[in-house]
Structure formats: structure tokens, C-alpha cells
């Protein structure tokens, strides 16, 4: 049972990756044109920085992709490239390879996303637990409408408001970027402080919006759990209110919260991409934006593949952790 669960999850992971690669390969070809040459020529027509490397690049691509080969062979080659994370050269900043650009930007996004997700999940779950408990202070219910409203709007919208209030109006925080312009990323304490300072507002725009979702989900689960027989029994047994709250209600209400985490990963990533764009945060979302602006198709494809890969990997890890929290999961079918 356990083994088949693990095998199934790993199988799902590879399906997701394969689908991502296939989308990347076939969608651009739906028009029936040769995407590479067309893109190159379009770029050359725009003029500027591309000119020097153009002929060389077309040559590389022609031999690399074997454009005279049948489609299925090109497809297999492409899958091979993807499995080696080889996304070719960036068109807008040739001769840099796409993967190098991604590797430079990825840590920013990973750190921003994991810390904000953890903070909002823990805080939201705790808040929701108290909101769903009858002996909780009254004023907590006042929080519901603002949390509901915040939860309904996209991250970046709150981000724009935060920029106005705290960067432009009150000048507490820097206006944009991930570190002070002119400095270079290094492993020093001053750089770390600077980067942390720059990440406060992007982080808050993610945390404040997603907090409400976690709190409301937990609150609903707590209300359901409150009505369970084992809670009534614990109460009748004379257990302390705090014990029932922490060990009986929260523990059981936590499980759906943990499962929900995997379901919203994709939305979180898509939302964070836009947050980075409005803050010009040096993560992957901002590089994606620049790739779109400069028509750098390989860069965009590479980023999208890496993002889907990361989401697939995170989902797989979460899926493999759940059985440790709740062994019943592995026995459920489907």
C-alpha cells in the first residue's frame, strides 16, 4: 500500500514535467511555423544588441535542433535537452545561457516564496484556530471581513498599495529592487540586511493576502471539529479547555490545512511572479517579465519549465510528507 502510494506520486511528478516540456514544445509550433528562425528574424528586425550573434545562433540552432529532421525526432531531442535543463541561449542577452540567468534569479524567488508561505500558513492557521473556538476573545470576529476582503484581491494589487503607502508616502521602505542599486550581491552581513529590508514589502503583500485564506479555512475546520464526538467526550471527561483546544481540536483540524498547501502552490507561484514584477524584485518573475518585454522566447520557455518543475517537486515533497502526518491518506483510493 505504502509503496504504491509513493510510486503513484512519483509517476504524477514525471507526468507533470513531461506535460510541461510538451506544452513548451508543441504550443509554439501550433501556428505551423518554425519558431526559432522566425523569432530570430523578428529579433533581428528589432535591431540593436542581437545583430552580432544572430548568424552564429541560427547555425547553432540548426545543428542543435536538427531542423531538417522529422518532428518526432525534434521532439525527442527537445525532451533530452529539457531533462538536462539545457534551455539554449538567451536571445536578449546572448551569449548567456538561459539556465545561468535562471540560476541567478531563482534563490530570490525561492527564499521569498518559502518564507512568506510558511509565515502566512502558520500565522493564518493559528489565527483561524482561535477564531473557530467559542472561548476565544470576541474582537477576533471583527477581523473576518477585512481578512475576507484582502484574501479576494491579487497579491500584486496589495503590493501596489503598499508601495504607495510605505515607500512613496512615508518612505519607510525602498521603492523597488531586491538590494540597493549600485551594490552587488555578496555573502556579507550588510548585503543580507539590505536585501531583507528590500524584501519586507513584497513579503507583506503575499503574507497579508494569503493569511486570510488560511485563517478562514482553519476556522471552518475548527467549527467542524468542535462538533465531533471525541471533543464532546474529552469535554465530558473533564479535560482542561486548553488541552481539548490544542491536542484534540487543532491537531485534527490541521490535516486539511496541510493538504490545502499543495493545492494552492501553483496559484502562489503565479501570484508571486506578479509581485516581483511590480516591485522589480530580482527574482524569476521579474526575469520572466523582462523576457516577455524583449521577446526572448527561450528565456520565457526556460523559466516556465523551471517554475513548473519547482511546483511539481514541491508538490511531490508535500505528498510524501502527508502520510507521516496522517497515515490514512495512503489507504484512500484516488
Amino acid at each position: 500500500m505504502q509503496l504504491s502510494y509513493v510510486a503513484k506520486r512519483i509517476g504524477m511528478f514525471f507526468l507533470v514535467i513531461w506535460l510541461a516540456a510538451t506544452i513548451n514544445f508543441f504550443l509554439p509550433r501550433l501556428g505551423g511555423q518554425d519558431p526559432i528562425r522566425q523569432q530570430m528574424i523578428a529579433q533581428a528586425a528589432l535591431g540593436g544588441s542581437v545583430q552580432t550573434g544572430l548568424e552564429e545562433m541560427i547555425d547553432i540552432y540548426n545543428t542543435k535542433f536538427g531542423l531538417d529532421q522529422p518532428l518526432w525526432k525534434q521532439y525527442l531531442n527537445y525532451l533530452g535537452d529539457m531533462s538536462r535543463l539545457d534551455f539554449n541561449y538567451s536571445i536578449s542577452s546572448y551569449p548567456q545561457k538561459v539556465i545561468d540567468i535562471i540560476v541567478r534569479a531563482l534563490p530570490w524567488t525561492l527564499i521569498l516564496l518559502t518564507t512568506t508561505t510558511l509565515i502566512s500558513w502558520v500565522l493564518g492557521t493559528l489565527l483561524g484556530a482561535f477564531m473557530g473556538w467559542p472561548r476565544a476573545p470576541r474582537w477576533l470576529s471583527v477581523l473576518v471581513p477585512p481578512l475576507l476582503s484582502l484574501n479576494a484581491i491579487p497579491f500584486f494589487l496589495l503590493g501596489l498599495i503598499l508601495i504607495y503607502l510605505f515607500s512613496f508616502r512615508f518612505k519607510f521602505f525602498p521603492l523597488f529592487g531586491g538590494y540597493t542599486a549600485g551594490t552587488f550581491p555578496s555573502a556579507s552581513w550588510t548585503f543580507f540586511k539590505d536585501a531583507l529590508w528590500h524584501s519586507v514589502l513584497p513579503a507583506f503583500s503575499i503574507i497579508l493576502v494569503s493569511l486570510g485564506g488560511w485563517a478562514l479555512g482553519m476556522r471552518a475546520m475548527m467549527v467542524t471539529t468542535r462538533g465531533e464526538d471525541y471533543v464532546t467526550y474529552a469535554d465530558a471527561k473533564g479535560l482542561k479547555g486548553r488541552t481539548i483546544f490544542a491536542d484534540y481540536a487543532i491537531r485534527n483540524a490541521l490535516l486539511p490545512q496541510a493538504t490545502a498547501l499543495a493545492l494552492v502552490l501553483g496559484q502562489l507561484v503565479a501570484g508571486a511572479v506578479l509581485v516581483e514584477v511590480v516591485f522589480s524584485y530580482p527574482g524569476i518573475g521579474n526575469v520572466l517579465f523582462q523576457g516577455i518585454q524583449s521577446g526572448d522566447f527561450f528565456l520565457v520557455q526556460g523559466i516556465i519549465f523551471i517554475l513548473i518543475l519547482s511546483i511539481g517537486l514541491a508538490t511531490l515533497i508535500l505528498d510524501l510528507i502527508y502520510p507521516l502526518l496522517d497515515p490514512r491518506i495512503t489507504y484512500k483510493r484516488g
Binding site: 504524477m12 507526468l15 507533470v16 506535460l19 510541461a20 506544452i23 513548451n24 504550443l27 509554439p28 501550433l30 501556428g31 519558431p35 475576507l148 476582503s149 484574501n151 479576494a152 484581491i153 491579487p154 500584486f156 494589487l157 501596489l160 498599495i161 508601495i163 504607495y164 515607500s167 512613496f168 521603492l175 523597488f176 476556522r219 471552518a220 467549527v223 467542524t224 493545492l263 502552490l265 501553483g266 496559484q267 507561484v269 503565479a270 511572479v273 506578479l274 514584477v277 511590480v278 520572466l288 517579465f289 516577455i292 518585454q293 521577446g295 522566447f297 520565457v300 520557455q301 516556465i304 517554475l307 513548473i308 511546483i311 511539481g312 508538490t315 484516488g334
Partner: protein, 305 residues
């Protein structure tokens, strides 16, 4: 529709107005029990009113660049000011709000329609199609739709139009409805009246159309609101990334221009406050309606929240 028209002709006007008032009153009573629905409908009606009043009070052709003096703060002639390219922002908002809603509605309806059909095939008939649809949905839902949309939008020469964008967003919007409606179909299939309908010799399509669909309607309504909201979110995301319809004054494109011209840190508040406000009202309105509809569709939620 037809019977309503007949009623209006046969009944004298006074009693027709009476019954209409009665309808509004009973709706008012219902919203007191279900405040979320009331708030949501109120917010969307407020937006609608703004659009209607706007169409009566502004020359909507001024949404184009170079129609008024650029970067004017709000004044009597330009109540919302103008942007850097000389668009009258009042006209932009009046046209953009329904445009964005249109993208959401079109895409939401397409997504829900595909989703409902697949959900019935999957949930009602089961078997191999069910297994395939479930796998596709499970895998597909792991991938954020926005990323796939980016790939498609980047390949379209000269950018997408509003309706093309709605179509593209809609073609990816069926995954979530398929999953949720399928599980509804599964539980509904087991109900007594469906079993009896099948035993009494109704064909499968008949059971679906006559027994299942009518009972799923409130649920489909709630799903539609969710789909519309998700579609608007996806379309605004595309637009903010610069892949939207450049010629159209949608809310997302306005945010794109705000971001592009750094309007916030230049202090041009009149440029970004209205679109942010309208988008926020739109999402909060749709969300509260979805919460309220959920209560209609699934009364058991009532004692939960």
C-alpha cells in the same frame, strides 16, 4: 420569459409592481440571512451603476491616447485626470470595467461549459474516460494556467484582442470546474430519485438533463462565479505582464501602463487609484457572491460558518 410577458399583459400594472416589490422585499429578507450574497450583489451593482452613469457623462472615445492633455490631475472636466499618453482616465475606467468583466464572463462560461460536460462524462459514466479525465485534471491543476497562457500569448503576432484573450483563458479554465462538479455528480448519482429514474427506464442522457442538471443548477451557478473570478485574475495577470490587448483600455492594461510609467512613485495617484479600487471591488464582490451562493447550493455550510 414568455409566461412572464403574458403575466405582465394580463395583470394590471399596479399589481405587477406590487409583486415585483414583493420579490425585492423577499430577496431583501433573504440577504439578511445571507449577508455575503447581499454585499456581493451590492458591490457589483455599484460597479454597473458607475459604468452606466459613465457612459452618459463622458465621451468614451477619449479612452484613446492623445485625446486630452496628458498627466492632468482630477479636475471638473477630467474627474479622473489623464495619463501620460493623454487618455481621459474616466473614459478608460468606464470602458475598461465592462471589458474586463466581459473577458471574465466569456472565459468563465467557456470553462464551466467544458468542465460540466467533462464532469458528467467522467462522473456519470465512469470507466476509462473517467480515469483519463481525472489524470489530466490532476496533472493539469499542478501547472498554473498563467504560465501556459504566457506561452500562447507570446506566440500571437501583434498581441491578443479582448475576445481572443477570453477564448484562450477559457480554454484553460475547465480543469477546476471539472474536478468539483464531477464529485457533485458522483454523490448525486447515488441519490434515490436518480436510481428510480434509471430503473423506470430513462435513458442516460435523459437522466442527466432531466434529473441531474436541474438539481445541480445552484451549484453550477456558484461554480460560474468562481470561474469568472479566476478568469479575470488570469487575464489581469497576462495584461500586467504585457501580454494583453494593447489597444483596449481594460483594467489590467491600465495597471500595466501604471507600472510601465512608474505612476505610483511619480505621485500620479489619480492614475492608479481608480483601477485598483475597481479591481478590488470586482474581486471582493465576486468572492462574497461565491460565498453566498455556496450557502444556497450547499445549505449544510450554514451551520458551519
Amino acid at each position: 420569459m414568455n409566461s412572464a410577458a403574458q403575466m405582465a399583459t394580463t395583470m394590471d400594472l399596479a399589481s405587477a409592481r406590487e409583486s415585483r416589490l414583493e420579490g425585492i422585499r423577499s430577496f431583501g429578507r433573504y440577504t439578511r440571512r445571507n449577508p455575503a450574497l447581499g454585499v456581493g450583489i451590492f458591490l457589483l451593482l455599484a460597479l454597473l451603476l458607475f459604468v452606466i452613469i459613465g457612459h452618459l457623462t463622458v465621451d468614451t472615445s477619449q479612452y484613446r491616447p492623445l485625446s486630452v492633455r496628458p498627466l492632468q490631475p482630477p479636475s471638473w472636466e477630467l474627474p479622473f485626470g489623464s495619463d501620460k499618453q493623454g487618455r481621459n482616465l474616466y473614459a478608460v475606467m468606464v470602458l475598461g470595467t465592462p471589458l474586463t468583466l466581459r473577458i471574465g464572463l466569456l472565459a468563465g462560461v467557456i470553462g464551466l461549459a467544458i468542465g460540466t460536460i467533462l464532469a458528467f462524462i467522467s462522473g456519470y459514466y465512469g470507466g476509462i474516460p473517467d480515469a483519463i479525465i481525472r489524470l489530466v485534471v490532476d496533472v493539469g491543476l499542478t501547472i498554473p494556467g498563467l504560465l501556459v497562457l504566457i506561452i500562447i500569448a507570446m506566440r500571437v503576432r501583434g498581441g491578443l484582442t479582448v475576445d481572443q484573450m477570453a477564448l484562450v483563458v477559457g480554454l484553460l479554465a475547465w480543469l477546476y470546474p471539472t474536478r468539483t462538479i464531477r464529485s457533485q455528480v458522483l454523490t448525486m448519482k447515488q441519490r434515490g430519485y436518480v436510481q428510480i429514474a434509471r430503473l423506470s427506464g430513462m435513458s442516460n442522457p435523459e437522466v442527466i438533463v432531466k434529473e441531474l442538471l436541474p438539481n445541480l443548477l445552484p451549484y453550477l451557478g456558484a461554480s460560474l462565479v468562481g470561474s469568472v473570478s479566476a478568469a479575470i485574475l488570469a487575464s489581469i495577470g497576462l495584461e500586467v505582464l504585457g501580454l494583453g490587448p494593447f489597444e483596449s483600455p481594460t483594467l489590467g492594461m491600465t495597471i500595466y501602463w501604471v507600472n510601465y510609467n512608474a505612476a505610483i512613485i511619480n505621485g500620479w495617484y489619480w492614475w492608479w487609484v481608480p483601477p485598483i479600487l475597481v479591481i478590488a471591488i470586482l474581486f471582493i464582490g465576486l468572492f462574497t457572491i461565491a460565498v453566498g451562493m455556496d450557502e444556497v447550493a450547499n445549505p449544510r455550510v450554514r451551520d458551519k460558518v
